[in-house]
Symmetry: C2
Subunit: 459 residues, 2 copies
């Protein structure tokens, strides 16, 4: 399970399964160049420059496997930081298999999932949060998920953690100064200043931790439940949204459509419309009100869209329904069927402060306005424009940040109780440790196994 | 349909669909380098050497699409013979889509299927039969299919055709010599010598044409029908074969398993075991003897394996069954259930000259001997060892070779009738034309459309 760190030479197919124009096998490790050289009679790869391409046959035990293009990267100037060779062959599963067999025969072992990125991390080519972003970037299906992963991969998040760490180290140095002269019973920095310093760090860490809700929604998709009475037009609304966006969604191969979910991307954000039997039919919801599962789904939703027929819904009916949605979900009120509304009938006041819009799902009226409400409800102000702010998308980072916050709370309480610096040291260390876990300066085989085991082979 | 030859710059995703470690976009055409340079701020690609690799971000309209590795190939030293750039990005369908959108925005059009190989052919990087072999190589699922495609791609077949052509041109030159001095009424080469010369060419072309049956079987898989009376052990035999080979077969991603076919690779040859209701149950076969479809299947089969129970089958029963297999199929007789045969009971003489073996499908006895018979029945003497002989695998080439043979027949008949050389010219031209069609020196948009339309995108 845990990819123990080996330093031998490894290989893996780096392109998706199936038939294509090109297939790539990546080889990395100290012997990558010398071993591939033995299969490549055309040129002496050991004497050629890094970052060059060479065409020729791959021959193993007299057998011509393919004519390929070889890319050579010399350590440390490669993705892994090791000697690396990429073999670009014809995109035939048979050839790729034969190639892997030949590599195994000359002592190159098959790579574990994520082993290239693990090596890149272990060789100092990137920190742990950057390595994690590589997998997120590959899995990203929307602009927002792509952009946050990209920012994290390029070190934006790491930089933020480093800043927090520097602040805490500065705080620690002030405490230490106090310790060094403790016998003289002098307070060098007054406790008020120290508390202010700590509060700044706390606020910034808290802001990062708070961004996780949005970050997680961006990465996994924003969960939306469309609720409403029968015949409010839920399916028509979903179809109106999907028809318009389906081309975009299905243009992205690999987009998985869960049978109980409709996924669509609006303005670069992935939304998952979750089907809840109880919610689809409020009558049933009321009957099954005690059923925890339905409420679990509602609780999990980031947004509840309450859809009602403007022609048949009274203000009281609407209030009755809305009041069943307790919890912290965002709620959007959508009046449907305005196409068949009597013109002289003015829309009633809902009496709620929730954002609301009136549409016709059937005629496609004001669907854009509804989409704008979906986007606005995410409170993206601090993510857009792209990359301006750091968003936490990884639950491991979120947990570590919460540990940091708890430790700072402890330190702060200690300061207020005028506990001496040496007794604060444990909490300071704990906060620093949690920060170091995010960037991977401190880690364990188990954590690495968890992270890289989820990568695809060849990455 | 017909990929009309454009000379602009084209792009396509060259890796299979889906999520992977790496994705490749290939760009080819006069503006490939200058246009990609506009998206790649890190380096000036216009001034760097061919066959070099460069890391950096791809940025379009201020938007960072990915950090990529760029390979640069300068005309004519590329697959297509044009300026080419390969962009190796993270294997994310979203990124690949964004990249293609950015390329379209800067005026690089999406490539048609096979357009890279079409350009390679049109730019003289390979002839038409070599280009066709590229698609065969990618689709090859067995060693034999791989090796024949590889030999053809490397020009083995083209060389053979060139030799035939040279022979025919030499023949034509002798006829022409005769023409030039026709008024002097002198025969320069006697007609007997000319006929011998022609016969040599004919024999070689006929040998090539004859290899198509095997070549087609190698490429598409050898069709095998297992016939026999109920309880002869047909499914057990199939399972014995499949269990042993399944690992091999399923190790090759993309191997398709037709619901009515079991595919397995024996000694590098792909066999397709075809299920025929009528054949699975001979009783039914007799009833449905008139049904053309069952016989069609038997006729299509390359090999009929007749399986019988050595304990319950009499020589007469066996002869009755075998006689229903008319046609040109190869037949292998397999006596099954030797594990339950009485030891003192000697196997009877079948009275047929067909290759035969006695096995126990249940106990896995002599399965290897049966496999050897399957392989031997293919008459591979002239293909093994690999690449020694040229095999025709393409029906287009087969048809052209048949035209060559017909034309040579005509020339030969004309020679025997002492028709003068100028009247033979039309047939000589026809034979040369058919040869030139194979290598693509003569071709049409329609032929090119047929050939390259079947390629995958990006190749």
């Amino acid at each position: 399970m845990v990819p123990t760190y080996r330093k031998d030479t490894i290989a893996a197919i780096a392109t998706p399964q199936g038939i294509g124009a090109l297939g790539i096998v990546r080889v990395s490790g100290p012997d990558a160049i010398v071993k591939i050289n033995g299969l490549f009679p055309n040129k002496d790869l050991e004497t050629i420059k890094s970052h060059t391409l060479h065409f020729g046959p791959i021959i193993h035990e007299g057998e011509l496997i393919d004519e390929v293009l070889i890319s050579v990267f010399r350590a440390p100037h490669s993705f892994t930081g090791e000697n690396s060779v990429e073999i670009s062959c014809h995109g035939s599963p048979y050839i790729l298999q034969k190639l892997m067999e030949a590599l195994a025969a000359i002592g190159i072992s098959p790579a574990e999932p994520g082993e290239y990125t693990l090596r890149a991390y272990l060789n100092g080519r990137m920190d742990l949060s950057q390595a994690e972003a590589v997998a997120d970037l590959i899995a990203a299906e929307s602009k927002a998920a792509h952009d946050t992963a990209m920012q994290q991969m390029r070190g934006g998040f790491s930089l933020k953690i480093k800043e927090l760490r520097a602040q805490l180290l500065y705080f620690a140095s002030l405490i230490e100064l106090e310790l060094d002269f403790a016998e003289e019973d002098v307070e060098f920095a007054d406790r008020g200043t120290l508390i202010n310093l700590l509060d700044t760090t706390y606020m910034e860490a808290a802001k990062l931790a708070a961004s996780f809700q949005l970050g997680n929604a961006i990465k996994s998709g924003v969960k939306v439940v469309i609720a409403g009475r029968p015949n409010a037009g839920k399916s028509t609304l979903l179809n109106a949204l999907l028809n318009e966006e389906r081309a975009l969604v299905s243009d992205i191969p690999g987009t998985t459509r869960d049978s109980i979910e409709d996924v669509l991307v609006v303005d670069g954000i992935k939304f998952r419309f979750i089907d809840t039997a109880g919610i689809r039919d409020p009558a049933e919801t009321i009957e099954r009100m005690g059923i925890a599962r339905t409420f679990e789904k509602i609780k999990e939703a980031d947004i509840i869209v309450y859809l009602y027929d403007v022609n048949t819904t009274s203000p009281q009916m609407l209030r009755d329904d809305i009041e069943t949605f307790e919890g912290k979900n965002k709620i959007i009120l959508v009046g449907n069927k305005i196409d068949s509304a009597q013109e002289d009938k003015a829309p009633f006041e809902t009496g709620f402060q929730f954002p609301s819009v009136q549409i016709s799902a059937k005629k496609g009226l004001h669907i854009d306005a509804f989409k704008s409400l979906l986007i606005q409800s995410l409170d993206l102000a601090h993510v857009m424009p792209t990359g301006q702010e750091t968003i936490v998308t990884n639950i491991r980072h979120f947990n570590s940040l919460n540990h940091v916050l708890m430790a700072i709370d402890q330190i702060r309480a200690g300061l207020q109780l005028h506990i001496t610096g040496d007794l604060l040291a444990a909490d300071i260390k704990s906060a620093l440790r949690s920060m170091a876990e995010i960037t991977g300066e401190i880690t364990s085989d188990e954590i690495l196994g968890n992270i890289f085991g989820k990568f695809c082979i060849g990455k």
